[in-house]
């Protein structure tokens, strides 16, 4: 479609030393379709009601793939200089430490509630339909 158009090697900013080379429209369309497919897969994980390790693994895999394509292609990070890439991705990596600490803390708080406050240790999940049944039983 757009093959006839000859590109200037300027970026959007007209900033010639930022070599933001032209990416064919096909890259965007392919990633777009891929994101649709990955989202459908994520939804299917829920629709077919996978549970346990399989569910968590699939959710995480599809999530990281989607996030990766959005950051790399749509946000053009793939085509940036490594100096900017490390600035963008470095600081958020520290969040992994926060996740680790809060997971440890959460486990401690949960055990405290069970051991000292007598709250149930098995916080099983509850279905919406069961809540409705209980409500009907009360009336």
């Amino acid at each position: 479609m757009s093959e006839g158009i000859v590109e200037s090697n300027e970026s959007v900013a007209g900033n010639a030393d930022h070599s933001d080379a032209q990416h064919p429209i096909g890259v965007y369309l392919k990633v777009w379709i891929l994101l649709f497919v990955l989202s459908t897969f994520s939804y299917m994980v829920d629709y077919f009601d996978f549970q346990g390790i399989l569910r968590w693994t699939l959710i995480l895999v599809f999530m990281f793939l989607k996030a990766g394509f959005i950051i790399a292609i749509f946000m053009h990070v793939m085509w940036e200089r490594m100096t900017l890439i490390t600035t963008i991705l470095g600081p958020p990596a520290v969040i992994l430490l926060l996740i680790g600490m809060m997971a440890s803390e959460g486990d401690y708080v949960f055990c405290t509630r069970v051991d000292y406050l007598g709250q149930p240790a098995a916080a099983e999940r509850i279905h919406v339909a069961d809540v409705h049944l209980e409500e009907e039983a009360e009336h």
């Binding site: 970026s11 959007v12 900013a13 007209g14 900033n15 010639a16 030393d17 930022h18 070599s19 429209i25 965007y28 369309l29 777009w32 994101l35 989202s39 994520s42 939804y43 994980v45 829920d46 569910r55 968590w56 959710i59 995480l60 999530m63 989607k66 959005i70 950051i71 292609i73 749509f74 946000m75 940036e80 200089r81 490594m82 100096t83 900017l84 490390t86 963008i88 958020p92 969040i95 926060l98 996740i99 809060m102 997971a103 803390e105 959460g106 486990d107 708080v109 949960f110 069970v114 709250q119 240790a121 916080a123 099983e124 999940r125 509850i126 279905h127 919406v128 339909a129 809540v131 409500e135």
Partner: protein
């Protein structure tokens, strides 16, 4: 930037060169760099929300509801799990695609197409917010509150309103931002300097909003 051509000698050498540069470390327009720094700070805000959600969910001794049931809808006489959220996800991805095309047309300085694709992006964003308003209305009418939840752990209500509310605010601001820039592009405000980097900067913000939704969808709605 006419002082010298930027050398490209491999990633590690580039980092060394850029940081030892006398004038500037980042060879991108300042507006784009500022947007990236804002987005990094926003990443921390949303991360704090999601980590807080993880902590609250781990510590809850009351049963956690199944989001796929809470957000299910009855369509054509059938209960379809999580369908509203799935549709919202697809709408947001579609809007990211149209935004990517708007940024692409910014390279060609094709004003009509930039404005058109940004307008389409804004419309998808607005419909996303509309569906979120519907979702909130439905849950509020069922008795879910920031301090209460009839379907199980009360923390579910707090987390839901806080995280989706903050994300919805981002989408709403993004819609206003997109409409403003689309209008200015169409009016020819950027012609004088022939500088369309604002389209790319707006695109970064919009893709980030989509990116955050990917994490919310995975951790809050699917987990």
């Amino acid at each position: 930037m006419t002082e010298h051509a930027l050398k490209n000698e491999g990633h590690i050498q580039n980092i060394v060169d850029d940081w030892s540069d006398d004038k500037q470390a980042y060879h991108v327009p300042w507006g784009k760099l500022m947007m990236w720094i804002f987005l990094i700070s926003d990443t921390f805000i949303f991360s704090c929300f999601l980590v807080g959600y993880m902590n609250v969910r781990m510590t809850a001794t009351e049963p956690w509801p199944y989001p796929s049931e809470v957000f299910g809808l009855e369509l054509f006489g059938q209960n379809i799990p999580l369908i509203l959220i799935a549709i919202m996800t697809f709408i947001l991805i579609t809007s990211s695609g149209t935004m990517a095309l708007a940024v692409r047309y910014a390279h060609f300085r094709d004003k009509k197409k930039i404005a058109l694709f940004m307008l389409a992006t804004a419309l998808f964003g607005a419909s996303f917010v509309g569906m979120q308003a519907f979702e909130w209305t439905k849950l509020i009418s069922e008795g879910v509150r920031p301090w209460a939840n009839p379907f199980g752990a009360h923390q579910f209500g707090s987390v839901f309103f806080m995280i989706t509310g903050f994300h919805g605010l981002h989408v709403s601001i993004g819609v206003i931002y997109l409409l403003t820039v689309a209008f200015k592009v169409d009016r020819g405000d950027y012609d004088r300097k022939n500088n369309y980097e604002i389209v790319e900067i707006t695109g970064l913000y919009w893709h980030f909003v989509d990116l955050v939704w990917v994490f919310i969808f995975a951790f809050f709605y699917l987990w």
